[in-house]
């Protein structure tokens, strides 16, 4: 044992800093990050070739197809936008599908009720507003359960899944609620220069959410919480408040999804979002988020939602039995997760604890 005296000069420049800047690794990382867009491009090319050979018609250059795919993708995309925030934080929100249904029913009722008293365009706005506000209530309960009472997100939101489902069907009287409002119908089915209003609303909303996730403290803290809650807490971030706002945000995304559903079909239905919940999770995962939290982007989720919409619409377009859709989406999810795992192994980061 040598006892070193403190007077001995400090060892400077020990081990030059190895910077893991290997270009090959970064390239793999880039490809893995953009994989959803690559999937999307590949799918569109496949369907285009298929369509040309089978019917001699174009798939992607047909504006009707593009409109239909975009409309088709809106509801799952809105759910998936909220889900992206939740999954990045390391949680999951299973109640989104029925919150959307609840919001659709509320939007229909509120628009009809308000339409009796105030002008139709205002009634439409009142209906949308009511849908988003009512949708935020289950979000508040989810957030309080998870942040204050430490209920695991999977269980807490599963409970809310049931509650929202029941309330939605009760409010709807077990049936669909038609909307009597010509403005609302126009919003749901009108176009401006070939672009449906719904697509414009969804695009503006998604851009706003992209900003929120990528450019604000809320978004930055969301990533930090997903990676290391302890670190976020020690850095002075209000974890409870953040989790509460997070689940309210995701519920409000579903609320807007429900209101737009009611506009598109001029009716509210409790089961509106039922098949969309898993699609929303799938879109987030295909978009490059990790279910362990800490990674994911809104743009990736947009690509993920479009991948699912293109598969579903494209297979119908080329006349394949609809059940193949499930298989195709399932395969894409699995491939996407495999790419994610491979990328983690290559990127030199710790794969898991």
């Amino acid at each position: 044992m040598t006892s070193t005296s403190p007077a001995q000069p400090a060892e400077k420049h020990v081990a030059p800093q190895a910077d893991h800047g290997d270009p090959a690794r970064t390239l793999i990382g880039r490809i893995a990050e953009g994989r959803a867009w690559l999937f999307l491009a590949g799918l569109i090319i496949c369907f285009e070739i298929w369509s040309r050979f089978a019917f001699g018609a174009t798939f992607v250059l047909n504006p009707f197809n593009l409109q239909s795919i975009a409309i088709f993708a809106i509801a799952p995309l809105l759910l998936a936008t909220g889900q992206t925030f939740v999954i990045i934080s390391g949680g999951i929100d299973l109640s989104l599908g029925f919150i959307m249904g609840l919001a659709a029913v509320v939007a229909a009722h509120a628009t009809n009720l308000a339409g009796a008293a105030i002008p139709l365009p205002l009634a439409m706005l009142a209906g949308i507003l009511a849908a988003v506000i009512v949708a935020s209530l289950p979000g508040i309960i989810n957030g309080l359960l998870i942040s204050r009472l430490r209920v695991p997100p999977f269980i807490g939101t599963l409970g809310m899944f049931g509650v929202a489902r029941g309330v939605a069907f009760l409010l709807a009287g077990g049936t669909t609620v038609p909307v009597q409002n010509s403005w609302f119908a126009l919003l749901g089915n009108g176009k401006f220069h070939g672009v449906p209003y719904l697509v414009m609303i969804a695009a503006v909303f998604v851009i706003a959410m992209h900003y929120l996730l990528g450019q604000t403290r809320f978004g930055q803290h969301n990533y930090a919480i997903g990676a290391n809650v302890q670190a976020a807490r020690r850095a002075g971030i209000d974890i409870r408040g953040h989790i509460l706002r997070l689940y309210v945000l995701s519920a409000m995304c579903a609320g807007l999804g429900g209101a737009l559903y009611a506009a598109r079909f001029t009716a509210g239905a409790a089961q509106a979002g039922e098949p969309l919940l898993l699609d929303s999770v799938a879109a987030v995962v295909i978009g490059g988020a990790s279910l362990f939290g800490g990674s994911g982007t809104i743009l990736g989720t947009v690509a993920g939602a479009l991948v699912i919409a293109v598969i579903q619409y494209g297979l119908v377009f080329v006349n394949v039995e609809p059940f193949w859709q499930f298989i195709a989406v399932g395969v894409v999810i699995i491939i996407s997760v495999l790419i994610d795992q491979a990328q983690r192994r290559f990127s030199g980061g710790r794969q898991d604890e």
Binding site: P6, Q17, R234, G236, G349
Partner: protein, 251 residues
């Protein structure tokens, strides 16, 4: 350092006690850290080292005694208050968000904002990266890719990031809990050299370690805790491994 008297310790702990029911985790403990001084805190498991640093950093409220910063008595209700007064704790398990860049980690919870297009508040990533580069340079740590997540860096480099955060926010007292425990030998030496730099910058460091070699390489004084009481305090130049071990185990 705003002390008029250079002999006033940056941090002084007087007769500090922390009792958990009948358990006296820390009893009547006193120590001081001066500017530019590294004080090692040694002791067996359960000797009260963790209780002491948690009391200093505001995690626990002490049962008795007082903490003085630059001669002024202070009481911290939360770790945030201690941090605002310049006491930063660097934890063994690194309080970093692995998916964020060095800059984002340094500013975590206190991110700078700028106005895009003159009205839209956005994160000022450039300011974060610039500040991070500057801070890491002061620690003799050069990174070319400031945007890479810290998961890309080695354990010692991440330790440097955690220290860099404390340096950026101008912590005067750094409490380092086993900063070399999880590292390989070259990385341990890097951290030791970082501590030398902190010392040269006039900061006070409380260095907790089981590794006597590290303690002797970097500290000016060593304070030994045993069962919650101070078992001895020595100048590093006037002691040796055997004596420290004897103080730690009692005998």
């Amino acid at each position: 350092m705003n002390n008029t008297n250079p002999n006033t310790p940056l941090l002084e702990v007087r007769n500090l006690s922390k009792h958990f029911g009948a358990v006296r985790a820390l009893n009547d403990f006193s120590m001081a850290v001066r500017a530019g001084e590294v004080v090692a805190l040694a002791g067996d498991n359960g000797a009260g080292k963790t209780t002491l640093i948690k009391a200093i950093s505001g995690v626990f409220q002490p049962t008795g005694g007082e903490i003085l910063l630059g001669g002024q008595p202070v009481a911290f209700a939360t770790p945030q208050e201690a941090r605002e007064k310049g006491i930063e704790t660097i934890y063994q398990d690194l309080a970093l968000a692995d998916n964020l860049s060095i800059g984002a980690n340094i500013f975590l919870g206190r991110e700078p904002m700028r106005k895009a297009f003159g009205f839209l508040p956005v994160l000022d990533r450039k300011a974060m990266a610039d500040a991070a580069r500057e801070t890491m340079k002061r620690l003799d740590f050069h990174v070319s890719r400031m945007n890479a997540p810290v998961s890309n860096f080695s354990g010692g480099q991440r330790q440097a990031v955690a220290i860099g955060r404390a340096v950026y926010w101008d912590a005067q007292i750094l409490i380092m809990d086993e900063p070399t425990a999880a590292l390989g030998v070259p990385e341990q030496r890097k951290v030791i050299s970082l501590i030398h730099q902190l010392k040269a910058q006039g900061r006070g460091v409380i260095f907790i370690s089981h590794n006597l070699q590290d303690i002797f390489a970097v500290s000016d004084r060593i304070v030994v805790l045993r069962r919650g009481v101070q078992a001895g305090e020595r100048k590093i130049s006037e002691t040796n491994h055997d004596e420290v071990v004897r103080l730690m185990v009692g005998g």
